[in-house]
Assembly symmetry: D2
Homo-oligomer: 369 residues x 4
């Protein structure tokens, strides 16, 4: 496996599988003097962990994080921050279940591609690293990034925009911040949330699953961040978000709706607001030429319905190369959308810190005045 | 500026501005023994260049490419392939026009973000490197990638799926290949193409522009390619495509339509087809867990309407910090969607070559048997 | 801090300080199917750990490694291998000692540069990550690399070539392998070893320290490995070796002795040996144009005398900016040269695996025949 | 071929062969507002080019550089600086000569390793990219780096320390700067220079070649630059210098002489000099723990005797796999040491700019005060 490190200057490296011993994360590029303890990291882990609600997987992981390096007397030292999260809910009965089905490809899951790529030695216990469990390490890294962004007045917030066909109405940023944690759908529109939860529960009762859309907003970014060719900030964010399992699309600002619009209708008009330049609309999602324009960065991802369902499906035995029927007995989530919310925030925060560092680095030789 | 290199093992580095002297591209990672000449690169450049049709910019660039290194006696030597494309249509009257408006932010364009980032020394001649002209270098690099992919039986084809609200009907892969170049919309559905062209012309007559959707398909990829965590093949392709100017979203397979679907309805069912595993549907767009599953890779991007229009718009003078009205007199495209088609193919081809190399590299120590 | 990841495809990322909680290492790029357990890693850690002999630091670290990810049922799965080593010998009295002197710059040590770079939040407990303790994580990563190299018949062996002015005589490769662990100097020439130990002990008795030279040989590398411009194999090895604390120089083959030689005297003459090409001498140290030629890779590094001594030295209080005298009471090594031996092997092994992977990756599109 | 890009934020990418059409270099990371023209680059190219003196190769390359992107109205724009250098002295008779001997491995040269790596398609015209000609592109990139360093008061100077066994006496920095160009040996000690030239000429008359040592000094670096684990500044410089063809070793400060010294004799003692910390000696070569300490960075490399000689040598025909005698008729340098001087400066300058940018980037989130 490759690609377990993300970022250029601010770099997050992770390891760990669904049913292995532990997850580790090493966050490089953390400056000295940031107040940091497990208390800063745990809340986001708690928002991501299984067993948190009736629409999430019943697996019981506590996701207790321990910082083992990079912090002394409550402050970062400049050394890489190392963290470890031990897996605790790894029972023999679960492993036995996974072992029984290990030659079967769960439709929509990565079993088949892992089988092709890593062969018989692959970790078939919950599909190892293809399991969403690896994202706990991302969330831990993202918590550090968020604390850094707070120093610059940048806030990254995500929420469930759509679930099982129910779409939240437009909600102001402050309201999103205030209400996103007020329900288990992580949707700041309470009416929509209620319906979302109902539909997810109904899907769960049927052994089925539902997909949705998560929107993420980064407020407070200064204009000028992002590298305008291959490493546009939009490209980096897309990379980061598409790297989350089950994500099948990403869009910025007006996104796919721009396909049948005209330039005159969608160009955001700039205006002068005191010392600042602002824009009357935000179809661009805060990014022009891949560089922040000072408006909110707004992106949305689509999360496919969790592939693991308990309804019987046709599939194959990959070793015997024959077709079989599979009705999974493994624990699963009726929907993972609300759990994806903190992961999205984490990945966006990591990208923003990295790009802000790179920008500052690039400016090292710019002459003042 | 940073981020002018793309790729890990197969790397494309570019430079050059809209109205500078020349574009250069250096393609690293090209193996020895590939038959290569300008004739392999020119056709894709011709598909991208301005002045090619009545719905493209009237700028007259010949985009003649010259290979200056890495090729001897008609074959690559293993050394990086260096290419240069001189700009020829850089007339004083155009530069004078750009100079006149250089302090104004064209709405929807990167003038403002470049102004913030690079200040008064930035290249304001057609916005320098934010101009689509830089993509000629990408296309040159992509042409090399496509030739390599052909060796493995991989074909990358893109086409206009939607333009100005007109959507092409579903067309079989072979038909796309056969017909994409048969009209200036690069749409293999001739009826749709006709309407698309009409609408683009109409927008052009009004001094306006239109957006659209480009779909890209890669056929022939072996299963197993892609790194399953941060460097999922889907993440790398999203990065590559989002790095193209004017692209505001990307989706794979069923994409955003998955938001209101259930797992039971969208999981692709695998089956045994002789020696191969295949899937009865392709909602996954050929990628499971970020790794190819052997089906076609299918992605779509949304291209925003070109921001440069000749209709008067409100904007600002960035130096004087005051609001002004601007009706651009610069040459522009009623739509860039058909010109984006070869760029999309180029970027996808570059990513696929890179990931196939990385996979092979990763496998260096795998024991046979 | 940055730069805690090493390698391109085979990547080792580490964290952890001298007196922190633990060291973590994440090894990315490990293929599936490699038999691996703590038993493969522990021996090299034991060769590196303090307290192993009377010429090493008396600190009592057991350096017990625990693999927490990437291995299932005794074999690697393809997922990154995560390991953790807890620090055990962190006593209050040591920390109190470090705290007392924390504002003083130990001459020759990184206190001053860390103070400038990381300021008052830096980890002053044994200088944190500047302490040689971080190399335990490298050695753990290197043990994985060595097992991979063994699959290809490549062997990496280092030994003490010179210590405190005593130089070992030329010893054949097989003898080095057989004897390097037979004495605490890690010198395969027993007479020299005896003198080396004596001089190190004498230095230790005086509160002083001594430097030396370590030679490393990699046997069995196929010809053709290394990238001939910026990433010559020699450049990568030099980078890797110079990244070890206390190393102040590196040379290959005849090295600095080439300065006053002629081309006719030092060119290695190739000859045909059955199916193979070999060379009559090895002044090149196995590398021509930065690429392996099939002969042994031979490199040497110079290790400066450990800067931490107990003899009183003039130095400064960095906070008060005044000059003071310091006679360190911290535990230290009379020489670290024998402990550097396994670190050198580890770093060279990591580089070789990485370059072999990259070469294979580069060759993915080479046509056979 | 891979590895034709060097640097993290400040990145130099090159292509071009000894007898190809042209060399190209793309310098990414150049900030806007740097006054730059060909006049800034040409002088260092002239110091490197062949035909400059009677102890250099008689090949007549003018090495005229043309900037094709990244500069407008005499100032950099922030876009990558693209440059091209056309080869002019590529005569049919030279190519015919190379072709005649193309199956022979010149001893000490990279023919054999290129043959193994790139096979029959490799560029055998002067060994293509293994030829020192590629370094012209490095020097062009380095000239930009030097101009940036000058803004920070950093000066990088190299000179011939030893040639053919003749060693220059110690010379003060200012004298080196003043005198290094006063003779064709690039040695600031005139007596030594005279002997060096004599010996090189004598070697040339015999068809032989000589090696030497180049010392490089960077003055004015602020303390705190360099990443203390894998990317120590010393490691990056070693990587950069070892990537220059013919370099077989690198050392810093007291270097290999530290092997038989004691800590008490070689630790550099810090002292307070007004607001600054300085050191009474510089055995460390300006680097502690891989980080600058504010003293001069001092490094030395050994350059092997140019392998191409006209004395008959035994070698092999690589295709026929049989031994032959070769007395090369190609143009060659009696010594390349004086020509390596500007290349060393270029590579060190590139590394310093890159590390200074990375440091600034890392500091982006450090809180003031």
């Amino acid at each position: 496996m490759l690609g377990n490190t993300f970022g250029r200057l601010f770099r997050v490296t992770t390891c760990g599988e669904a049913y292995g011993e532990a997850l580790q994360v090493i966050v490089d590029g953390v400056p000295p003097g940031l107040e940091l303890s497990e208390k800063d990291v745990q809340p986001d882990l708690d928002r991501r962990r299984p067993g948190q609600s009736k629409i999430a997987s019943p697996r019981k992981e506590t996701d207790q994080v321990k910082i083992v390096s990079g912090v002394m007397d409550g402050y970062t030292t400049g050394a890489p921050v190392g963290m470890i999260i031990y897996n605790v809910d790894v029972l023999p009965k679960h492993l036995a279940q996974y072992e029984e089905d290990k030659d079967l490809a769960i439709p929509g899951h990565a079993d088949y591609t892992y089988f092709v790529k890593y062969g018989r030695f692959r970790d078939w216990r919950g599909c190892g690293r293809a399991n969403g469990r690896e994202t706990a390490a991302r969330v831990a890294g993202g918590a550090v990034a968020k604390k850094l962004l707070a120093r610059k007045g940048v806030q990254v917030v995500a929420y469930t925009k759509e679930l099982a066909g129910v779409r939240a109405r437009e909600v102001a940023f402050e309201e999103i911040v205030a209400r996103v944690e007020s329900n288990i759908a992580r949707c700041p529109d309470p009416e929509a949330a209620e319906q979302m939860i109902e539909r997810a529960l109904e899907a769960g009762r049927q052994g089925d699953t539902v997909g949705g859309i998560v929107e993420v907003i980064a407020r407070g970014m200064p204009p000028g961040v992002g590298d305008p060719v291959f490493d546009k900030l939009s490209a980096s964010i897309a990379h980061a978000l598409m790297s989350i399992g089950a994500v099948k699309g990403v869009e910025f600002g007006a996104g796919f709706a721009l396909a049948d619009k005209s330039g005159s209708a969608t160009n955001d008009v700039p205006y002068v607001d005191g010392e600042r330049v602002r824009f009357r609309t935000n179809n661009a999602g805060g990014l022009l030429g891949g560089i922040t324009n000072g408006e909110d960065i707004v992106a949305r991802i689509v999360v496919k319905p969790t592939p693991l369902i308990s309804i019987a499906q046709q599939t194959i035995n990959m070793v015997k190369m024959e077709e079989v029927s599979l009705a999974s007995k493994a624990r699963h989530d009726p929907t993972i959308v609300p759990r994806v919310v903190p992961i999205v925030e984490a990945m966006v925060a990591i990208v923003l810190v990295d790009h802000m560092m790179v920008w500052r680095g690039y400016s090292a030789f710019v002459e003042e005045g």
